[in-house]
Symmetry: C2
Subunit: 432 residues, 2 copies
């Protein structure tokens, strides 16, 4: 093996230039860890004419990806260009050329992770992707290391900064979803088309990656049951608060024996749950392992230096493995058959808010419905709705199966005394 390790970048935007900067500025520390020199030698860009910051004069820029992925002198390819199909093609070619790969591309890993990891494994190459989930938090490495001596039972993640920012502002300032979204767009925290964030699709990709790794099952994006935050109202947040809950968009991966559930939804957490205090655009992952118990990792989910730092930590790992001759061992390829829970086996507590006629007998119609469905109630809050003959009723159930929950919603809507079921949410992070 040569005494210099060469890195080729696919993409030289915010993250790519951050990676080059960190490798340049921390060269000595990196050499101490790895045992040899590390250099970024080439970078793929789309426009040669663009002015860019280059930390040292040695990076050769090119607009031809082959210059990077077919260069026999390059040991590791770092993909930070985004896109799905093109990135997939480049990474496959790099792996086929026996190059190790580090990527920050969550869309790619959520859709094609298992295929790419399989190819990497066949070629005895490393494929690392720490930066794809919660950039500033070493969550994938912690899960992988944890797995070496533990069994992961549950992961709950706040893995989308935009939605956490919106929910935090709505709750703190009693403002509407539309109002806060518009502000977030102005401030650059939300995109002009916010669909991927607010409908939970971005979080779903990350939770698919987390679940695949945690349970060693090939969890597809289609396996993730997704609900976003665009229907959350100020009233929902106000009543949640009154009952001691904080609403978060939670990516959930949950195992009971050999069956798993993977979902993304706005869920209510008790205020004292560690995830409840994760504010604004921060990310966090709460992990329950059989041996170690509860742990949580909290930090920035994005940003140039946090993300580039995650990429560099992957690079260090690849290079240590190269020198150890153990590349291709660290990838946790799905080992088990996917075994998803049916609705009958998914248990949770539910928060249900409805408007009912404020008449004698309303309450007993409601409670007898719950009792028929064998769902017991933990909390009930009833308030008059001003200037109407309607009562606002909030119910928090004890554990109920998802199928019982669905029947419950249907039958509540059919009850004469119920004007409208306004909203319902899962309650997580409490004992049953």
């Amino acid at each position: 093996m040569s005494e210099q390790l060469a890195v080729g970048l696919l993409g030289y935007g915010t993250v790519g230039s951050g990676v080059a900067q960190i490798i340049h500025e921390h060269q000595e520390k990196l050499q101490h860890q790895i045992g040899c020199e590390v250099q970024v030698t080439k970078a793929l860009v789309s426009d040669m004419g663009k002015e860019r910051e280059v930390p040292s004069g040695h990076i050769e820029f090119t607009t031809d990806a082959d210059d990077v992925i077919n260069d026999p002198k390059i040991d590791v390819v770092v993909e930070v260009m985004g896109s799905i199909e093109q990135a997939r093609g480049y990474i496959l070619q790099a792996l086929n050329n026996h190059k190790h790969v580090v990527t920050a591309n969550k869309d790619l890993m959520a859709l094609h992770g298992t295929e790419l990891l399989q190819v990497a494994n066949d070629k005895r190459c490393d494929l690392f992707y720490e930066a794809s989930v919660a950039g500033g938090i070493p969550i994938l490495r912690s899960l992988t290391e944890g797995l070496a001596s533990d069994q992961i039972q549950k992961v709950m993640g706040i893995v989308n900064g935009t939605t956490n920012y919106i929910l935090t502002k709505m709750a703190n300032d009693n403002r509407s979803y539309d109002d806060v979204l518009a502000e977030a767009q102005e401030l650059g925290y939300a995109e002009a088309d916010p669909t991927a964030d607010v409908e939970g699709y971005d979080a779903a990709r990350k939770v698919a990656i987390l679940a695949t790794l945690s349970f060693s099952m090939n969890i597809d994006l289609d396996d993730v049951c997704v609900k976003g935050i665009s229907n959350v109202t100020e009233e929902d947040l106000a009543y949640s608060k009154q009952l001691g809950y904080t609403m978060k968009l939670i990516g959930l991966a949950n195992r009971t024996e050999d069956q798993v559930e993977v979902s993304v939804q706005p869920a209510l957490l008790p205020n004292e749950h560690p995830l409840a205090s994760v504010k604004d655009e921060f990310n966090a992952a709460y992990v329950y392992g059989e041996a170690v118990g509860e742990t949580m990792f909290y930090g920035p989910g994005a940003g140039k230096l946090p993300t580039a730092t995650a990429v560099v930590s992957d690079l260090v790992e690849v290079m240590k493995n190269m020198r150890l001759g153990v590349n291709g061992n660290s990838a946790v390829l799905p080992q088990y058959e996917k075994n998803l829970k049916a609705d009958e086996d998914i248990f949770a507590k539910y928060f249900i808010r409805l408007h009912a006629r404020d008449l004698p007998g309303t309450f007993s119609s409601l409670t007898s419905l719950f009792s028929e469905l064998d769902v017991s109630l933990e909390k009930i809050l009833q308030l008059p709705v001003p200037e109407s003959d309607v009562a606002e009723i909030i119910i928090v159930t004890h554990n109920a199966s998802k199928s019982a929950y669905k029947s419950m919603l249907k039958q509540l809507n059919e009850l004469d005394v119920v004007v409208e079921v306004k909203s319902s949410y899962r309650v997580e992070g409490e004992e049953a």
Copy 2:
């Protein structure tokens, strides 16, 4: 290098037997990570006759430490026996025999860490001690890895489970310190002599280790300014709560340019601070790095499997380094001269609770005293003390130097209108 790495244990109690168990049960995964077999070959015990769980038949027990530390076939010595002087002697001898060392001994590392790391460095050996601070949280590794591409500005840790349990119960159930301590002792959460925990000495050892690593300065135990929780009252907790704060025993390591402050004290955090939700016997470390920003790690601070897992993660690191030929590089030896802040340079907000005569003019005497000391006030709460002519007054200041704070306390006690200054605490985790 041989194709089997041999580990010798000094101590085979809870943690030692946990290490042997994990190495046995996860042998295949460990081999995948390291590239060769790992075995515990010998263990030092004090009583040969005692019955003990042994995961495989291959461990040779001995009552003579030399059998372990002078065995040329042993590559790594794991010290999990406790004690200070004896452990120090064994570790020095092991290092002099060119063996790598993993220890879980916080007392030893806080008192002799710099000396031992220096010897390890001279011998090009690794000396790792992840399990010495917050067993279930990979905080030392995160700091070390973070340091490779970041500068740590601040660490705030809840690093003592006993005191966190006591403060949590006092606050939640409105109970007295003595009452909760007695219960904690009954339940085994506090020792018969609780001094080391409740007076903050245990936390001080851990924060000395954290500060030494974070700032690369040789922070001695004597450099840590320590205050425990034995004088905390129910009233303090009730008024803190009323003002939106949660009290925690905080180990603080804080840098401003090249000057540092290291302390342990009960401090008030805003309820929405991530550390405020760390309950019961859990530990957590909040880290502020220049590049990555805010991160927090949360988990169990002790326990057989969490601590043994931390020891095994150190072992994996040592063994990877052996195969890489980079042992002795990872140790972060103090590189900078210690430069401690004077009281004039330590700034914080303070919560002060006092009893004053309920007379006209009381308030203006108080406020003119603060104004003379150039300390401005953020919050004031005044309540009558039932059946007395005394008022309960709680003041939260804006940032003040520690020297101004000391003058303030002295002069408040000398004021005619003040009956007694009941208590005072730092307020941390807010903007100035």
